[in-house]
């Protein structure tokens, strides 16, 4: 064994250099004691990447371990590139969510595009063919021109990448809130389909097996991307734009086809994306999982520019690259498959028995770590959490004490304004830029409560959605964590599917702040409770911390990607009303709760009050009721009540489809003793608006399961408008008027000549034809 040597020209290891790499004194000491010497510059770079928050989960792992991960249908839980569940008949679904928040904050187009690329690779390396993409986006208010630039860039980046690869983008959510002004969130989820026996794991094995770099060449882009994603955004972040990787979806498409062919070929034993921290993390993680050593010679890595140092080659985050462990003697077959797709494959190392992680530059050893300790020695931090007194005070404010505006005397005004609020308004402007129909599997695309993708050759389908409500989590983290899971489950159930499993993306601020740490602890605990009760285990996910900028931290935003199974397409249920004269049933019950609502934010600019209480047991009963009613054939449509409350949910059922609208007439007098604002616009959980031709049967099923249910009205012709009665308080609105607010808000802001603040902040000004 050769001694590790530092390279001529490498900078000297100083305290300042260590700090620049984001390594604390404590961590540095741990590194030195692990090595028994001072690290080389290359080693310092490797450790800075692997021990970054992004790769190591050092602040979140102890909490994540508390999440439920098991169920009979879970084939692969957390720890792999993606989770995998069985959906029956030998079919399995691989799925995972990942964030690209920091890159998108400085370079929205490439940041979002490469986020899609990375999550696609995580799924197809499991052996699954990607069949659907979803995304969850958060931006500041659209009144800001920078936010409009970020929004347009992110949407175009997501679209251009997914469209080119040919994977439909079938759903997602977009929320606008001042808390994300300087720090947008871009979470992308990919879902893939495979036969159960095709499952492939990223575990290096077989001493003597060659390690191969496959796909695109390695360049200088994205170096330190993982570390960049593990610190707060600041005024200097703009200067880090070169750390953002550049995507090439065409190469990705070739790599996708080649990788699936490789996996099916039997010539390889493992494959992993070179994603965050590139070659370093992919090779170290595969070795750690396989409990073997690896050696890599950087001079054998195909590069796209000359003069790259080992440090740069190891830390590059150039996109569309894979690390493959081939079977010894099968190298040429691997090369042949790649060549067929006009891609390269090069042997760059070997699996070895000696438990070390070794990097050489030709003969010279430039980095060497004792085996899996490189991954396992990363410290884990358990800190003390403390609730923010400001948020506590905000929660304790009474939303009912907020004086209504004069215009609110007409609830129709409020309803129309909420429908034009960009968080609630139609996102067709977004999803029309995404190919949602390629692969001819999308039976419910964007704009539904959840997307539904059928399994060719069967009568089954999977239902997919992403949900999260940062405002609810900010004001009550544990309840908010529960609510995120329950809302996602409700959305999936509204299509007729049984919620089965979860992938989650935890978007939070700086965990070293006790207030943020508290949010993490509580939100994860709440998610765990709900996942246990709903039997939707967590199969993986991603943690994005340090979502802060000089203006402060974002709302703590766990986003939940939920996968459900629809046993038969005959149970597929739409969210919009289907026919006049159908009865409207409300499952669940309105409450006095008004806190944390979109109403308070959009109308009063306030984020206050206790968020509505979420009871996962009640949600479970609600979902069981709905699914039984759907199976019994007595449900024509089902739509979850969330942002904007019952009034908005009813309006959405009537107007969400552009060319097929309905009117409705509802009588909510049964709850006339509730504050009318809370009844109409409060966001109480556990409610679903159902339309039915046999309401009596729906009520019967609900009663048997102990779920409150009531017939509240009837679907009508669109010409008759929307009518609400709450005892003596009645109001109406023309359907065209509501529809225009809902459908035109975002296009008008993004493409129109009307200044954004006139559309969003003053949408009561009649939009003339």
């Amino acid at each position: 064994m050769t001694a590790v040597q530092s390279r001529p020209g490498d900078p000297e290891i100083t305290a300042a250099l260590v700090a620049e790499h984001g390594i604390t004194t404590f961590e540095y000491e741990r590194l030195v004691s692990m090595l028994g010497r001072v690290p080389t510059f290359t080693e310092l770079g490797v450790v800075s990447a692997l021990w970054s928050e992004h790769c190591s989960y050092k602040h979140s792992r102890p909490m994540l371990k508390t999440l439920p991960t098991k169920a009979p249908w879970v084939l692969q839980g957390p720890g792999e590139n993606a989770g995998v569940i069985s959906v029956g008949d030998g079919w399995a679904v691989a799925f995972k969510i990942e964030s690209h928040n920091h890159p998108s904050a400085v370079e929205p187009y490439q940041g979002a595009a490469t986020g899609v690329g990375g999550i696609l690779r995580d799924v197809f390396t499991m052996g699954a063919r990607p069949v659907a993409l979803l995304n969850s986006l958060r931006f500041g208010p659209l009144t800001s021109s920078r936010v409009r630039w970020l929004f347009a860039g992110v949407v175009k980046g997501i679209g251009d990448y997914g469209n080119c690869v040919g994977v439909p983008t079938v759903g997602g959510e977009v929320v606008f809130d001042p808390s994300y002004e300087g720090n947008p969130l871009v979470n992308a989820m990919c879902v893939g389909l495979m036969r159960e026996e095709e499952l492939m794991l990223a575990v290096a094995s077989g001493v003597g097996n060659p390690i191969m770099a496959v796909g695109a060449r390695t360049g200088r882009d994205g170096i330190h991307g993982a570390s960049f994603a593990s610190e707060d955004l600041s005024a200097e972040s703009e200067a880090k734009r070169p750390m953002v990787q550049v995507g090439d979806p065409f190469t990705e498409k070739l790599l996708l086809e080649a990788s699936l062919e490789l996996i099916r070929s039997g010539h390889i034993v493992a494959i992993q994306d070179m994603g965050a921290a590139g070659l370093t993390s992919s090779s170290a993680e595969m070795a750690e999982r396989g409990d073997v050593g690896v050696t890599i010679d950087v001079t054998k890595v195909p590069v796209r520019e000359s003069g790259m140092t080992p440090y740069e080659i190891l830390l590059s985050e150039s996109q569309e690259r894979m690390l493959v462990v081939a079977k010894q003697g099968h190298e040429q077959q691997v090369r042949d498959i790649l060549e067929r797709w006009d891609l390269e494959a090069a042997v760059i190392g070997e699996v070895i028995a000696e438990p070390v992680y070794r990097v050489t530059e030709g003969e010279r050893v430039v980095a060497e770590f004792p085996g899996s300790r490189l991954v396992t020695e990363c410290p884990q931090y358990v800190l003390e959490g403390r609730e923010s007194s400001a948020l506590k005070a905000a929660r304790e404010r009474d939303p009912h004490a907020v004086e209504p505006l004069a215009e609110e005397r007409d609830h129709a005004w409020t309803l129309e304004r909420l429908l034009a609020s960009p968080t609630i308004a139609s996102k067709a402007w977004v999803w029309q830029q995404y190919d949602s129909t390629v692969r001819t599997s999308t039976v419910r695309g964007p704009g539904s409560d959840a997307a539904v993708v059928r399994l060719h050759g069967t009568d089954k389908a999977i239902a997919l959605c992403i949900d999260g409500n940062g405002r609810h989590v900010a004001l009550s983290p544990r309840n908010g964590g529960r609510a995120a899971v329950c809302e996602a489950a409700r959305n999936v159930a509204c299509t007729g599917a049984r919620p089965r499993a979860v992938t989650n993306n935890l978007n939070f601020g700086n965990p070293k702040k006790p207030e943020v740490y508290f949010q993490l602890q509580e939100a994860i605990a709440g998610m765990g409770e709900a996942c246990t009760i709903l039997e939707t285990p967590v199969t993986g996910g991603n943690v994005s911390l340090y979502n802060e900028n000089p203006q402060g931290a974002i709302h703590p935003t766990p986003t939940i990607g939920m996968v459900g199974v629809l046993e038969s397409l005959t149970h597929l249920t739409p969210s919009a009303f289907q026919a006049a004269d159908d009865q409207i049933v409300l499952l669940g019950e309105p409450t006095t709760e008004l806190g944390a609502s979109e109403y308070l934010l959009a109308i009063h600019g306030l984020t206050i009050g206790a968020p509505p209480h979420c009871d996962p047991f009640a949600e479970r009963r609600l979902i069981d009721t709905l699914l039984e009613a759907i199976a019994a054939g007595c449900v024509c449509s089902a739509h979850d009540c969330s942002d904007g409350g019952l009034a908005v949910a009813l309006a959405e059922c009537a107007i969400s489809e552009r060319d097929r609208r309905f009117g409705f007439s509802v009588d909510l007098s049964a709850w006339s003793s509730l504050p009318h604002r809370a009844l109409l616009f409060g966001e109480a959980h556990g409610r679903i608006v159902v339309s039915s031709k046999d309401a009596a049967q729906v009520l019967r099923i609900a009663e048997q399961r102990g779920v409150p249910a009531r017939v509240i009205g009837v679907v009508t012709d669109p010409m008759t408008g929307a009518h609400f009665t709450i005892s003596h308080d009645t109001f109406s609105a023309p359907i065209d008027w509501l529809a225009r607010a809902f459908h035109e808000a975002i296009p008008t802001v993004m493409d129109g000549t009307t200044p954004a603040e006139h559309v969003i902040a003053a949408s009561h000004v009649p939009l003339t034809d």
Partner: protein, 234 residues
């Protein structure tokens, strides 16, 4: 009868075309690899949608130089039927099989949506099972779909009945709002002078089943297969 579906690097509607032919029409289909020269005895060639060669340089500009395209062009010259969809339409224009060009959408944005099409001509082997002025609902998904040709070409296409599909509203009117990409004269699909090459931006292969929201694409595929079975000359 057998369809040959060309696979370029970056094709991504190849499997959808295969399913339309095999699963829905019950006909045979084979994939034709872009590096090959063999059409494998296909009776119909489908140039599917996607992003061949990443749309680098210009959509379709590189694909036309693929080895397989030499055979496809020769097949077209012999009067063999070619269905060129979306990126396939772009490739067919680049290869000189169809007149005109597809430019970046007027909105400068990718557009994915169901659109209405009016059948302008039922005298082609691709449209014989529609009726005149029938309004279809078919998805589009493209960034470069603005059909453009010089004035003489447009006049000739119109005069000789070679405009096959036009973007219209739900009532069949070719309005400005119904035009999703700024195509001249709302043109969505054309045939060549010989009538054996159809190019269209919308995706009929995505409109083959009720579950997907439309079955209006079936008649297109069955028209062309029936023309093959009955030995219709080009």
């Amino acid at each position: 009868m057998k369809a040959g579906i060309v696979r370029f690097p970056g094709s991504n509607c190849d499997e959808d075309a295969y399913r339309a032919v095999v699963d829905i029409l019950g006909q045979d289909a084979v994939y034709l690899w872009h590096k090959d020269h063999d059409l494998q005895g296909a009776d119909l060639i489908i140039l599917p949608g996607g992003f061949s060669y990443g749309d680098y340089l210009r959509a379709g500009a590189i694909a036309r130089f693929s080895p397989i395209m030499r055979e496809v062009v020769a097949f077209a010259r012999r009067g063999g039927p070619i269905l060129a969809i979306c990126n396939g339409f772009q490739i067919a224009c680049e290869a000189g099989l169809l007149p005109g060009a597809l430019l970046r959408n007027a909105s400068l944005r990718f557009v994915s949506a169901p659109v209405h099409l009016r059948v302008e001509s039922i005298g082609t082997r691709f449209t014989s099972q529609y009726h005149v002025d029938q309004v279809l609902r078919v998805p589009i998904a493209h960034g470069d779909g603005r059909y453009t040709a010089d004035a003489d070409t447009l006049e000739r296409l119109e005069g000789e009945g070679h405009v096959v599909f036009r973007y219209v509203d739900a009532h069949g009117a070719p309005t400005l709002d119904a035009n999703p990409n700024g195509s001249q004269r709302n043109i969505a699909g054309i045939v060549n002078a010989a009538g054996n090459v159809l190019g269209m931006m919308p995706h009929p292969e995505r409109a083959m089943e009720r579950a997907l929201g439309s079955t209006d694409g079936i008649a297109l595929f069955s028209s062309v297969f029936d023309s093959l079975l009955s030995g219709v000359p080009a």
